[in-house]
């Protein structure tokens, strides 16, 4: 089922690189300076690797997104794939792009945009923004160069300790306009399917981490995975992951994108919360990946809408 590009990328994330990828956008709490620069270098290297292996031209982006989730990849690739559905590749080449779209008012007179957008990923290192906003013409999408001096960014202090930014566009020139809002709806549905697949991958990785721990951690003279309490909980999670994976890889997935993403969102938060429980206090330590899955799931599971927003939308549009 896996295509050649995804297989090659799977090989790229080998056992040496995978631990670095998992923390490629996670500012350590304790480090003074330097941690950020090192992470930025890793992100640049991973981006080059992914582009070189054909990630931008991959036909099965859902499978790819699941793989990215399983290594906890953090970077602009998923936003860039969405941007490429909206803008011709000759406009953006192979450059990284961040989505800064919200159904909020903006002004876009004379080809200059004024808008403030929140929770934009990797704003400090992309080449372009896709900026979206609503005015009398409805929802429209503009492509803007990220290096223009009219743009200012501020990184949030947040649970994920990642690369999430507030971005201010003050008379920023538009490079290109995208088509209709129907195209955005289509691209958003595909982005949501990929985000759901990413969360399935993340959930599977968290579960694998919990299962491995349950096999080795001993209490009362036996591995904790031998007790039916933890064992059954892990089994249930494993089957929920399997079920959600069926949803995101179904040929009909985009038609149910919002509802599927809501399910994947619930899944990721549940699995990572249970992974914490299985690990006990050891999972809270900064060098344990359990807390990493837990925090990243919190961010990634609401990136393209909260489950309740998604379900409401899904109900209204069905």
């Amino acid at each position: 089922m896996t295509d050649a590009v995804t297989t090659a990328i799977e090989g790229f994330f080998d056992e040496d690189l995978a631990p670095l990828v998992r923390r490629m956008a996670d500012r350590p709490r304790s480090s003074g300076g330097g941690g950020d620069d090192e992470s930025r270098e890793i992100r640049a290297m991973v981006w080059q690797g992914l582009v070189g292996l054909g990630a931008l031209d991959n036909s099965d982006t859902v499978q790819l997104a699941e793989l990215l989730g399983s290594v906890l990849y953090q970077g602009p690739l998923l936003d860039t794939l969405t941007a490429r559905e909206l803008f011709q590749s000759d406009a953006i080449g192979q450059a990284p792009v961040a989505l800064a779209v919200a159904a909020e008012q903006w002004s876009s007179q004379g080809g200059l945009i004024n808008a403030r957008r929140t929770f934009v990923g990797f704003a400090a290192e992309v080449d372009y923004f896709v900026v979206g906003g609503v005015d009398t013409a409805g929802l429209r999408l503009a492509l803007a160069r990220a290096d223009h001096p009219s743009i200012s960014v501020r990184r949030y202090e947040e649970t994920g300790r990642g690369e999430a930014y507030e971005v201010e566009f003050a008379r920023t020139p538009v490079t290109a306009w995208a088509g209709s809002s129907a195209e955005w709806e289509r691209a958003l549905a595909n982005a949501r399917v990929r985000q759901a697949a990413y969360l399935v991958g993340l959930a599977q990785a968290a579960l694998d981490h919990a299962v491995a721990y349950a096999k080795t951690r001993r209490q009362f003279g036996q591995p904790i995975g031998k007790f039916q309490g933890p064992a059954f909980r892990l089994s249930e999670l494993s089957m929920h992951i399997d079920a959600t994976r069926m949803l995101v890889h179904d040929s009909d997935a985009a038609a149910h994108a919002a509802a599927n993403l809501a399910a994947a969102s619930d899944l990721a938060r549940t699995v990572t919360t249970q992974t914490m429980q299985i690990h006990g206090a050891a999972g809270m330590l900064s060098d344990d990946d359990a807390q990493l899955y837990y925090r990243k799931a919190a961010v990634e599971s609401v990136r393209l809408g909260t489950p309740s927003q998604l379900r409401r939308e899904s109900w209204e549009t069905r």
């Binding site: 249930e236 089957m239 069926m246 809501a262 379900r311 109900w315």
Partner: protein, 378 residues
């Protein structure tokens, strides 16, 4: 994944839907669900109509009363029958368990003798497996088959059986030898249940259909009515029971309850409904993955356990949610003139605890997945 139906398979689904939507069928089904307490149906006209067309066991060869179709047509039929509310135990017991066991392990003579009647909807069969205290540990059964000339006499008590009072024969598991390994020494017998030496008593429950207590009091069975090898019945059960465990029946039940719930739920329930709808959709995909596995000749026990656990738990969740969303009116029985959706919510609520117990309890599925899929220590 949902298998892509061929035009012929899609046509078959349309034809089955047409037949099951027929007014006479709808009336018969509604009536069956409103029978006085303590009474229940056996074979219905709809079974005979489907049987006449070769559809009841559509995947069996024509010589045994089928239509030479595949497991995909069979799954389609099961799904549509449940969606249309046809009571499914008759079909599950006769075709999916006993018929399948005979089809896979019977002698040519047994197949000729038993299968056409089942496939035509003219005869019924049930199972006599469980016993007091046996529960999920089926290999601990103690019904005895004592040698009697070239045959055996059966002695023991079977419980949790259904439809024995309507059945022509039953597939009965009994012990032909004892030893240190429980799984060895079990033999399967095809037993004429409406005979001297078999006593059937009702065991009333909250469900629509009664359980039977069947006492085997020395009924004599000949060598020709042993299914499979003597002492090796466990192998047959192990092969047949997982094949029935696709979760498709539970998935279709969840769909039926949810469809009615969607129609009757007040505004404000949209979020919960969408959550349930997504779960039901995922369950159906898991069930059809098992059907596709069987079609490809590659049954997968982890997939089966996953589908069984997920779909039965989902069907139960939908049934419980109906009460949560609709309140007291959801609890009206089909026999009450004010019943909504023909009492489907009440019936689902009373049926659903059994779904996560029968065909392998949820705990058995969880244990299997924990040890076989996740590799946790047992």
């Amino acid at each position: 994944m949902m298998p892509v139906l061929t035009p012929e398979q899609q046509h078959f689904r349309d034809e089955v839907r047409r037949l099951l939507s027929d007014e006479a069928v709808r009336d018969e089904v509604a009536q069956a669900r409103r029978m006085p307490y303590g009474q229940e149906t056996g074979l219905l006209d709809v079974h005979r109509r489907l049987g006449k067309l070769g559809w009841l066991a559509v995947n069996w060869p024509e010589r045994y009363g089928g239509a030479g179709g595949t497991i995909v047509e069979k799954a389609t039929l099961t799904e549509e029958m449940i969606r249309h509310g046809v009571p499914d135990n008759v079909h599950t017991l006769g075709i999916d368990i006993v018929g399948l066991a005979i089809f896979l392990f019977g002698t040519p003579e047994q197949k000729e003798r038993f299968l056409p009647g089942l496939a035509r909807g003219e005869t019924m069969a049930n199972v006599l497996f469980s016993e007091p205290g046996v529960g999920s540990d089926l290999a601990s059964l103690s019904t005895r088959a004592e040698p009697d000339g070239d045959g055996w006499r059966l002695y023991g008590r079977k419980i949790w059986n259904m439809k024995a009072q309507h059945s022509n024969f039953a597939l009965c598991a009994a012990r032909t030898s004892t030893g240190p390994v429980n799984h060895f020494g079990i033999t399967l017998f095809l037993v004429p249940v409406q005979s001297m030496g078999v006593v059937i008593e009702p065991h009333w429950s909250m469900w629509e259909e009664r359980f039977d207590i069947v006492t085997l009091d020395g009924i004599r069975i000949g060598r020709e009515d042993v299914l499979g090898e003597v002492d090796d019945g466990w192998q047959v059960l192990n092969k047949v029971l997982p094949l029935e465990r696709t979760g498709l029946d539970h998935s279709a039940k969840a769909e039926r309850t949810l469809a009615a719930l969607r129609e009757h739920a007040p505004t404000g329930c949209e979020q919960r409904l969408m959550q349930l709808e997504t779960r039901v959709r995922a369950g159906r995909l898991l069930a059809w993955r098992c059907v596709a596995n069987l079609h490809d000749g590659r049954p997968d026990e982890v997939h089966s356990a996953t589908a069984k656990w997920y779909t039965s738990e989902t069907a139960k969740e939908v049934a419980v949610a109906a009460v949560e969303l609709l309140g007291l009116p959801a609890l009206l029985d089909a026999r009450d003139p004010e019943a909504i959706a023909e009492g489907v919510f009440d019936a689902a609520l009373r049926e659903s605890p059994g779904l996560t117990l029968a065909q392998g309890s949820s705990e058995m599925m969880l244990f299997f997945v924990a040890t076989s899929k996740l590799g946790l220590p047992s």
